[in-house]
Amino acid sequence: MQEFSSEFSAAIALILGGDSELWAIVLLSLKVSVFAVLVSALIGMPVGAALAVARFPGRRMLIVLMNALMGFPPVVVGLLVYLMLSRSGPLGVLELLYTPTAMIIAQVVLVTPIVTALTRQVVEMLAEEYSEQLRSLGVSRLASVPVLLWDARLALVTALLAGFGRAIAEVGAVIIVGGNINHVTRVMTTTIALETSKGNLSLALALGAILIGIAVAVNAMVSAVSLRAEQEGLSHA
């Protein structure tokens, strides 16, 4: 018990003392996850909106696939990205394995289905409401996509935050493609796993506390934005 309290005190000292190693890990984690979410938004939002408004054979199948991909095991995603980026893989020449870029790619693969599926859900609901009015105003299905995305912006922020929550807490995929290399690809989750196994609980606890803080902050933002979206009459709930 005494050992735990001393580790806990040391963890607090690391956070408050502005430990450069700790904050470098936090910063890299945030950079990787924020970038991954931005890329996912660029892919997932237009695709999700197009799935919501377009009508084509196989659309239902694609929606089911996209929903299924939301539950794709991160370790398997890590393995697939590893195979793609490894020296003998199709993208091996890019030499991205064990770099932050590889971790971003893995997180993009994990987060894009979430952003796409939630965007599809939100935009489809809004499209149902807007459909006749937009057609009456002469807006084509394709031209309605940016209109719907903009008007669903509040609900879509929650989709992005949900994606960020998944990305920042991810460990399995990033440890495979990032390699957990000190000062290069070491992020909060992988450091916690490593330092715990080494018995360096203070750093693990400090990062755990920060990770929980981020998770709570993200959830608080999701709640606040969802509330605002509900007041605006749009929520994906």
Binding site: E132, Q133, R135, L137, G138, D151, L154, E232, G233
Partner: protein
């Protein structure tokens, strides 16, 4: 039934239109010519096919048989661009009042400065001055419907369709909407409006299309149809009797 020959200008014609669903005929209008100068009101009980006919005239629903002709041309994109429609429940974009108007003006290629001036004009016309920056979703029912009408008028349509725009409004709000409709009509916009309200038909209509069971049972000058209806269905509806 009126027997008017359409001179092909400012004229909306329905030719042998049928809309079917699972083999059931929802709308069956062999012939209808809307060419009068003032507002046309479609009157009839629920399920008469009024809203269906309105959507068909605006091209939101394609008929299974027959066609709609505007000014001698089949209803295509060019014809639809000269029409606008206001729905029973106003569908406003989740933006400010001004942005709702700006959206259609921008689509028409209007520049920023001209848009600003036109938005101010429109808001004054609809009694919504001072609400430009307010969220459109926070407007009252009457204000929201006025904004929907202003947005439709911003398109400068030749024909404006209104689907029971005052069905959920109090008398004061209804009066404001009716004034806007009459002003638009006086400016030369063809008004085609659905209503259940016989009093509203008397106040607004130049001609009345009486509908029942997906059919036009009577069409003629408002006074004639409302005061001396020819069909039994019209007489019963106007007398407040049950019409199915």
């Amino acid at each position: 039934m009126r027997d008017v020959i359409c001179d092909m200008s400012n004229c909306l014609t329905v030719e042998n239109v049928q809309i079917l669903s699972n083999g059931k005929v929802l709308l069956d209008v062999p012939s209808l010519i809307l060419d009068g100068p003032g507002p046309t009101l479609l009157l009839g009980p629920n399920g008469a096919g009024k809203s269906l006919l309105l959507r068909c005239l605006h091209g939101l629903i394609s008929p299974d048989r027959g066609r709609v002709v505007q000014d001698g041309n089949h209803l295509g994109a060019a014809q639809k661009a000269r029409q606008a429609m206001v729905f029973q429940r106003p569908v406003l974009l989740r933006r400010s009042v001004a942005a709702n108007l700006g959206f259609v003006l921008k689509r028409q290629g209007m520049g920023r400065r001209a848009r600003k001036a036109r938005i101010a004009e429109l808001l004054a016309e609809g009694g919504l001055d001072g609400k430009a920056r307010q969220s459109a979703r926070s407007l009252s029912g009457g204000e929201a419907q006025r904004l929907a009408i202003l947005r439709a008028l911003a398109l400068e349509p030749e024909t404006l369709f209104l689907d029971e725009p005052t069905s959920a409004l109090d008398p004061g709000a209804t009066q404001m909407i009716e004034r806007m409709v009459l002003r638009a009509s006086a400016r030369g916009v063809r008004i085609v409006m659905v209503t259940h309200d016989i009093g509203q038909a008397r106040r607004l209509a130049s001609d009345v299309v009486m509908m029942q069971g997906g059919h036009v049972v009577e069409h003629g000058p408002a006074k004639q149809v409302l005061d001396t209806p020819e069909s039994e269905a019209s007489r019963r509806y106007l007398a407040g009797g049950l019409v199915t």
